[in-house]
Symmetry: D2
Subunit: 310 residues, 4 copies
């Protein structure tokens, strides 16, 4: 599909240009000072094909915290360490119209792994002797998945999120009171916040997406990082639940299974074709990068990326 | 992808055999006597490729009422007769965890076009001087889309649904009270029930699916029946909302955008590949054909039909 | 408690004067033209003691439609025609935070008899061969209860409510679909709207209240119109559910079991002491007369009418 | 109303006898071991008139933890330390159909002061340099209000509740995240659990009720402990929200403003007449003493205690 490098490059450049008009729309996430403390005009995009070809634009090396995109990681690790049935015994797989940090869609369990409560649930299923060990496993896995060997915990983000995370602590205790896990809720929350604080850049996101697009195999090295079943679970949940309470509309308008984070990143997967990463920190009310969505929308159309028109 | 006819035929036959163990599981829909009045062991399956090749099995000519699969039709007609923006102004595009005939997920408008309230909303947007004319247009369109020229209104189904449809009449009046439409609610309901009562068979479903899989063009004749944008809207909504409150789990486990009806039919779309139709009247609690789902699950795996692993 | 006529009269006159500042606050109910078609400055008040002494002020003969205050009547008639257990089998007895015409608080049944769904439920339990006969029984009973022999159906109100009552018709069909009653929903709705359209004035309301305040006996004639048990049920439900979603706050601030209607009337009961009726058509967002509430608040304090300080 | 001591005594004894058949119905609260660790057959009742006359029966000296009846105390202290408007700015005044430890009825704020979230809110408004000082003030006030100078913190109850209170800790963090208070949520929870762990007996409850029944004045000494306004607020909230999600039905069937606790105590207020305390540890699903309710129901009828029939 990506026939010629020049052709693709031209399309992408045009699309980036077309989205310039959105660059002042949306607000920086402000619930922790560190997130508001970025250049609102930053922009970066990266596309990595299943053959490992890389197309990158803008500040593609720029580090930002992964935030909710890490919900993919804790789901993967939960699936690695447990069978899918026991994972989905503790967390649902249906979208919700409630916002990501709501407690309402937790009845017996969190509705899906991509709301905060669901990601705490999957975090609680990651094996390890303690929080440090669990996080090390997750981080090590992300380095491999993203080919971003320099991934690390952003200490400032982690610390300031830990200080201002009353709602998330409420969720952790609520899950504990529902017997979703037996660990100390503070430890589960700690791991969850560490996951959110992982340093990434758009190429690391796109390379992660490329593994998911490539049936679980790392482009070029062909290393198998995920089973087909895991790919199926993760990408389908991205399709139905990845963009918070706008997932249905996003899939209708864009058609690329994606997962966003409030720091302004979006990771997209075009099965059989490529992974995508975008970064632009101005977000809409649902927490999704405004310009990022517009860029994916244009690329989906101009490069035929939608999974529904093949 | 469907390399050789014999190979595909063998896979399908094996899959059908494997699902025989599910044939006694589930219950006939019983809310109208006519729906319970069928042979519970009936089974039929049809696959139609984007090239127009047909694979059919079991009672493939057997007539049954289309029920909720008609929600696709009224969405298509609403999109034909209005622009997408004004359609989704009146109906949402997000899944709901509530059952299909619930009134709870109607706040300002129905959450999506594939719950009853949403399908009444799209029905109300179909142009025509009166109910008869509107229905004639929908039926004529279905004949073309499905290549099933003998499609008709099943009078017994229609009449007995009209008699026992208190909940749906409540929904119609509720939508009216929310100013979703200005028509007489009884007329909107009448059209909705007529849509549900259209006679179909599995090959008509599979041929409809093949048009959706083929970017909106009818296989062989290449007649354009739907715009790419309409295909994108319909198939993505099938992916996120097509299987009632189990849509997320179904997409995770099967991975084929589908729409089911309580009569036991399911229509599936594999973009770029084929359309699928299955009929087996025993349904689960959510209203989906038990054996139908199992068959699609096996075919998705064995024929590589999931949209997430390409 | 009402020691001297002059003293009471002076207190009431002062209270009425004190509430003059509220006379421009609030809006006329506008959902049917007839309700908006009144003099917004009308004011009337009446107090009737358990001994039958009458204190009346303002336009005390002025006719207005009883609206939701009729919910008391259909509850009484349902209790007359059935035992309390079977009544509360079909309707709950708990307040709701949802607005009076919401469908949300109907799960198995309406949450209480004083929301629309609850009043339709009690209406459906009134005995009679047809709607005419049922309504005649209710009207006849109201004439006796209120000593207002001239009570009648206000045809204009009835007709225009019947025309614009989509939400209520939705509720009627919804209740039917939940098997709350077996009657035709249109008949139940018809009876419900007729009840709302009964002509009353403040003295009729106050006299009704006086019967409830007097253990069910009509002042002076001592005729027994209600059992103690019925009085207990009705007055306690007025206390917890009588003022729509503000019932808790109203009871806290005023302390008089009351039932309001959107036409601007409020009926109050001070057990052992008196009944109250007020009319002032400007209502707040919940549907309660603004000036009426303020007047009751002052009287409760100055005449010691709150049931919680005795 | 309580004409003759002998007459009243006879009525009460008969009522107690009549409720013996309920003594095996219901279950001990089991969420902390200490609550399940009591004699399920314990029974005690006390009535204290507004003149200070005491009628006591059964194990009237028996100590039990006050549990949710302490929600009255924290509401009183919040009202003492702040004006009512600022209190009800932070907590609602409407009943809820959700259970007492649900997080659902907390939208902007807790729906009422008598669910856990509401009582944490009022606890957070009590003045004091730290948790110790705040609790000392509350305990000192309870000693005065109840004339139970020996009231103390039951350490075993307090400690085991603190260990098993995940849901309540979730609520505390949730309220904090909604900016309901600025204190450390762990401190607010600590104070809340201490309040629940206060030692009481039925006579202490009845004497507290007698103050509320006596316009805020202590019987005999005439010491003013509460303003009329405070009495009005507390007793009306007991009427509408005091018996968890059964408050409406309880008021209808019993008619005495009451507040219950899961340890099996109920405090009742008959304005102008008396206070009541009962203890019987078997509770129903809502958390209310089964035999206690039955006893109040009979006394309300036989001694004319209902506030709605005067």
């Amino acid at each position: 599909m990506l026939e010629k490098r020049d052709y693709v490059d031209k399309i992408i450049k045009k699309a980036i240009k077309q989205t310039e008009k959105y660059k002042d729309i949306g607000e920086l996430a402000s619930y922790i000072p560190e997130l508001a403390n970025v250049n609102p005009d930053s922009f970066a995009f990266c596309l990595v094909t299943v053959d490992g070809e890389v197309f990158s634009y803008g500040e593609s090396e720029k580090i930002f915290s992964i935030q909710s995109i890490s919900k993919i990681l804790s789901l993967i690790m939960a699936l690695h360490d447990n069978d899918p049935i026991s994972v989905f015994d503790k967390v649902g797989s249906e979208p919700t119209s409630y916002e990501f940090n709501s407690l309402v869609p937790i009845t017996d369990k969190a509705t899906n792994p991509f709301i905060n409560a669901g990601a705490m649930t999957t975090a609680s299923m990651v094996k390890g002797a303690n929080v440090d060990e669990k996080f090390e496993r997750i981080l090590a896995y992300y380095k491999k998945l993203s080919s971003f060997e320099d991934a690390y915990l952003i200490k400032d983000i982690y610390e300031s999120e830990m200080e201002t995370t009353d709602r998330n602590r409420a969720i952790a205790y609520y899950l504990k009171s529902k017997d979703i896990f037996s660990d100390n809720p503070n430890d589960v929350l700690d791991l969850y916040i560490r996951n959110c604080s992982i340093a990434t850049n758009v190429c690391a996101l796109a390379k992660t997406g490329a593994v998911l697009a490539n049936k679980g195999y790392k482009p070029k090295t062909k290393e198998k990082l995920l089973s087909k079943k895991e790919v199926q679970i993760i990408v389908s949940q991205m399709a139905t639940c990845g963009m918070y309470e706008n997932s249905g509309r996003y899939l209708m308008e864009v058609g690329i299974p994606s997962k966003s984070g409030v720091s302004g990143g979006i990771l997209g997967v075009v099965p059989g074709v490529c992974g995508l990463g975008v970064y632009c920190p101005r977000i809409d009310k649902s927490g999704n990068s405004v310009r990022g969505i517009e860029l994916f929308k244009i690329l989906a159309k101009d490069l035929g990326f939608t999974i529904f028109i093949n």
